[in-house]
Symmetry: C2
Amino acid sequence: MSQRKATSDAGRATIRDVAERAGVSVASVSRVLSGNYPVSEELRRRVMKVVRDLDYVTNAHARSLAGGGTPTVAILINNITGAAFAHVAKGVEGAATLRGWLSLVGTTGDDPERELALVNLMRQQGVAAVILLGGAYDYDEYQLRMARFARSLDAAGSHLVLVGRPPLEGDVPATTVDYDNEGGAYAMASHLLSAGHRRVLVLPGHAELTTAQGRLKGAQRAFDAYGAPFDPGMVRHGPYDYEHGYEAVEAALHDTPDFTAVLAGTDVVAAGAAQALRAAGLRVPEDVSIVGYDDIPLASQLTPQLTTVHVPYEEMGRVALRAVADRREGGGGRRKSPDGDHLVLGTHVVVRNSVRPPAAHA
Amino acid sequence: MSQRKATSDAGRATIRDVAERAGVSVASVSRVLSGNYPVSEELRRRVMKVVRDLDYVTNAHARSLAGGGTPTVAILINNITGAAFAHVAKGVEGAATLRGWLSLVGTTGDDPERELALVNLMRQQGVAAVILLGGAYDYDEYQLRMARFARSLDAAGSHLVLVGRPPLEGDVPATTVDYDNEGGAYAMASHLLSAGHRRVLVLPGHAELTTAQGRLKGAQRAFDAYGAPFDPGMVRHGPYDYEHGYEAVEAALHDTPDFTAVLAGTDVVAAGAAQALRAAGLRVPEDVSIVGYDDIPLASQLTPQLTTVHVPYEEMGRVALRAVADRREGGGGRRKSPDGDHLVLGTHVVVRNSVRPPAAHA
DNA sequence: TTGAAAGCGATACCAC
DNA sequence: GTGGTATCGCTTTCAA
């Protein structure tokens, strides 16, 4: 199992196998395959025939080592099962494919250790960039952690991109692609307020999650703007999942049953909330209005269809990749583009059928 | 930008940088890092310090070239946005991580050319296996195409795994992880029949899609078993998406409005069907019963909660990876395991609230 | 236009 | 226990 010299057979055909069999030098084979160098038609034909015969493909590792190689971006997601993130990934994938880039997806399962391990793994792979998706916990430590990632990747010739996360403070080599999270929440809450709702159950998400904080803040600002009192007792924190939506509404129905609307942190939470309401014999939106956040396909598939905040996830993915690609192209001159490394996309309310003015007798 | 010899600084620190700075040989550094060789405490300490100082990580490509390297599996999906596939991917990811393997996800967008390109790309990457997910079109050409992939990957020391796809005929080096698709459909249709339904609208999926064919066949078998007439006019083909479910029901309401139940090819199709029914003023399940297939989270989040067929997607992913890993471990003795390369997992009906006996007056 | 040979970064075998 | 060094497969000068 040690020194096979036989042409082909063992494991995988190499460029040398092709060269020998075609009676040319490895350099020529390489040229034909790369296509970035003038080669005689005759030679090209001979080489290509052997390539087909042997079903040869170049070894990406060797190629990468020697300088060439397909640029690759890594996408790190908490949970591949989340619809919103899947759309960002799709956006990245699409844009990457368009440029002939490769993209990998890794999942962290919300585990910081695993996140670190993956970042290093990707650094080993020599990826052009690591794209981190989704809200983050613990703002203070977050800054330090990300700054470390950023510098580490930068030193390795890679680059950190934060998508849907807070930007980094100070002079850190990272790019952030964000959306107007707070603004979306502000608009969404305003929509509820202008419909006449005042007692609204707010389910922003985990208290320590940055996206949840932004959504809560946006809602509060809207209440302030409307001169409506904001009751902290109407806020219930919890994970962005169906169960939380269900349980929070169940609990609220017990504790503060006078709410006329639910402002959910995500569409999935809204779905859970709606179910709980129905289980309690309440109708949506006749008795209680519900709004979500994200505008994933689920939002328009629920009954009633959910009024929610549209977040341009797929576009964020595309933008993130473009940012990386641009930075590579223009890589010659290192411009510290003082701006341009924090892009913010807009959000907007999508009105569907889950909101009504509060019932008159309320 | 060409011949930097300075320790570190340029791009990325190498093992040589570490060796020099620690005043030891590259061999020693390699040993310390691999950890699979006795090394003095003193040396290890010195090396590790420098590694930390330089924030050094080994170059995965070089390592891979030289023999070592992290085993990697590639998952090829049609659409990363599909919930069912995402769960398979999650299963693969989890099992891979457990073993310290890496896993990549690529999307084909239902494009055969792109699929081919990705298979080759993965072959270049030297992945341990390529896992293809989801139903396939055109059975005849499919066999040839997959056989080619299988041999090609096998020759490159890799391996093809088909998940949720028909197994390959003949002596082809591939592994198939499948679920009892037809059986699930049979059970689901039986459930409907035993509730008294006879006129059921069937939305199996695309006519050329293998999973759709299996689901349709299972349904037909159930009708036969019940001695109930199966009306081909009640079958409507189309993509596995929400829109198709909606439109198919709309059309059926016009053409053959006497159906009392809908047998949808997937949960998402069922969701669309339910919406269309409601839009037409029909209640689910009081007026029309609906069942789905897949049992993705959406199924239990709809109102009413969907009775559907549970497919163990995540487990399929885990099983697929285990199959690849086992085959690697036992790689020494090449056993052509005549069986064991076609695993079939069971499916079962999950009863929820979307089925009632047909209305008496029907 | 084509060939020979020097790396790319890490591993592992062979001496010491 | 530690240090040389050939080698992995490919790209890319440098000559011819």
